[in-house]
Symmetry: C3
Subunit: 306 residues, 3 copies
Amino acid sequence: MLPFDSLISATQLTPEIISDIIATTDNMATNIQQQGRIDLLDDKVVALLFFEPSSRTMMSFQSAAQRLKAGMVFAQSASATSIEKGESLEDTIRMVESYSDIIVMRHPRPGSAAIAAGTSKVPFINAGDGGNEHPTQALIDAYTIAKHKGRLDNLRVVFGFDSLQSRSIHSLSTLLAQYPNNHFTFTGPAELNPSTDMLNELKSKGAQCEIVPEVNLSDGYDIVYVNRLQEERFNEPALFEANRRKYRLTQDKVSGTDCLILDPLPRIDEIDTAVDCLPNALYFKQASYGVPVRMALLSMLLGKAI
Amino acid sequence: MLPFDSLISATQLTPEIISDIIATTDNMATNIQQQGRIDLLDDKVVALLFFEPSSRTMMSFQSAAQRLKAGMVFAQSASATSIEKGESLEDTIRMVESYSDIIVMRHPRPGSAAIAAGTSKVPFINAGDGGNEHPTQALIDAYTIAKHKGRLDNLRVVFGFDSLQSRSIHSLSTLLAQYPNNHFTFTGPAELNPSTDMLNELKSKGAQCEIVPEVNLSDGYDIVYVNRLQEERFNEPALFEANRRKYRLTQDKVSGTDCLILDPLPRIDEIDTAVDCLPNALYFKQASYGVPVRMALLSMLLGKAI
Amino acid sequence: MLPFDSLISATQLTPEIISDIIATTDNMATNIQQQGRIDLLDDKVVALLFFEPSSRTMMSFQSAAQRLKAGMVFAQSASATSIEKGESLEDTIRMVESYSDIIVMRHPRPGSAAIAAGTSKVPFINAGDGGNEHPTQALIDAYTIAKHKGRLDNLRVVFGFDSLQSRSIHSLSTLLAQYPNNHFTFTGPAELNPSTDMLNELKSKGAQCEIVPEVNLSDGYDIVYVNRLQEERFNEPALFEANRRKYRLTQDKVSGTDCLILDPLPRIDEIDTAVDCLPNALYFKQASYGVPVRMALLSMLLGKAI
């Protein structure tokens, strides 16, 4: 059902594939609501290798596997595995592939997902490899936009506030750049503007891009996608503090706009909690879509989607 | 089946509710014996958030969920979660509620259970919030007494040896104080006597209370409920050592009495292992009731009890 | 189906028992291939107590339990359990036996498995107790040899490179010594030769034993079973480095021989990765047999094998 065995990068996700995954996700969401759990992967075992902490991604993959009634095997934490004894990632994968029918891996090293997928005889899903890629998050974000805007093209999207380091912003903008007439406005502290490489990549795919120090969300934007600022990126605490106050969504900035508010979470200071009650505050709904999207992926990669 | 969606405190447990839970627990115990596992929660997913180590409570909740064939999702340990990145407990719950049908949480902070339950859209069970409350332990204790004494009233109960800090003693005495003619004798090192607040609270509910430095268990007591002394509560090692020897159940103190011996465990020095073989040594049986009691609670809160 | 309730030591495994386990393992392997998962232990709960990290053993027991559709309960890591609070191993087992139908335990202390099995009312499997025993690994090794050589007798086996400390070499050689006409050649750094006790034990069972500093694998050997050298066993880094280079299987040493290459893994330096593609390189296949062997053991100890 998918033209690949392993999902390593958001660049594998063409509009046609995304459209298939969205349709399957809709089915999965309906199944959860009507039946709670379904027998679809009852004969499969999913390996969850989280060699780096990740509560959100880990728990939503667990929930996806359990709602499909798959069995699960877990690695103990990275510090508790053979990896510490010096075993290569390839050897670890050769072991785990014989204990499971599909492998989901989060690993701190950029590029590790490609190595693991290249070794594995069973399907593989990259659940984040360092600062490199997090394709299932990009799919969740795309699903949220498709669901609540009805389209993935002709969008005016604001990305903030750390576009330099965020693999979520990188993956989602790359994915959306494939669709016609998308326009990206990057905002945030100058230190955290997207790299020239990233901008050139997006432009080469046809997206219009601009970088601005400040943005007025009522100027016809469709989506604002934000993430937290990390203190360690700033030389002085005072500079961090100033940016933290400036780059923060508050009720007065977002209420009354049609702008959907997304955040891959965890949320620290980038969105005021007073925003949570607004109808366009979609970040918790976005998190909830992690389960049906990952159910769709597990099923499709195992040739079992419905 | 229960007049609440979330179990936060032993004070929610009226005699009528306790009676319902005991009846359901009996059914669950029979089910385990006859069938091993039953399909009752086959369509549900239980989230187990243990942000503080707890082998006994954690494993018995796991066992309860598995014997009901529920799916499970786990948080990685507290130090490995977004909580470390500064996410609020409310945001964590908003995430987990979309991954599960019921949340069980242990958290080091007193009062965290009420906050979590107030946020959660799915039923919630407090599995211990710091030194505050541990209502499912109180239910296990009450079930043990009801099962082996045939009643929860007209009891003469000895509590020792650290009534000051034990949330188990606090919760169980509060629960039993609701029944007529219960009499509590607190014993142990003077430093660890119950607080005046706690005594007043118990007396206001109708329980008779006394504090004594020593007690003779053959003087018609029905139950002796003990927990371990913690070395760090004593200023001098010699003082701890003296108390440790004095406040310790041995065969000569308990054999020949009708006094049921309970302990929330783990047991360190407070009960000599020679006591284990006596017919009134019930602490391991008490621990075993953790599974059917928690099966009853999970089922009843999900509206599925049988 | 087995003449014991608990598997503690490879010395319990007579040729007749091994033969039964091999037959059941074959059935389990067929079941995995044909059905993925089977309902055999659908009514059971398996407790996995890993008080010491072990990715391979832990994950293959999880996979075995899940492929049999058993429920699972886990202890949190050793540092996160009551064991840290001073609870005895006996008390821990008395708790866990009431939460499960069979206990699998890895523990750092030699002899702990016998203590736990002596306490437990439910069947028990030793998944490694310190440097003492690891009987399920010995069964996996025996299964691999039986499967690929067609016999467990009349074998010429090379063991290297650390026969002194390896519980895997200890357990497998003990197991094979029961069969007629087996011949063991130990090789490796002199510091890591097997102990005189171990040699005497093997000889007393009828095995022929020799120790040699070097071996030519094309001299009619049937099996070479190796494990990694540990740096901390050598006084000087230079000595370790020299041994590490010398005692290492490379293509030129093994290709063209009929010698099956086994390794309990993880593999560090003891086998060059260029060897992996050879038809006699069986170590990843050997690891994969961990699942059906452990399925066989869980089922047989629970009286449910097919």
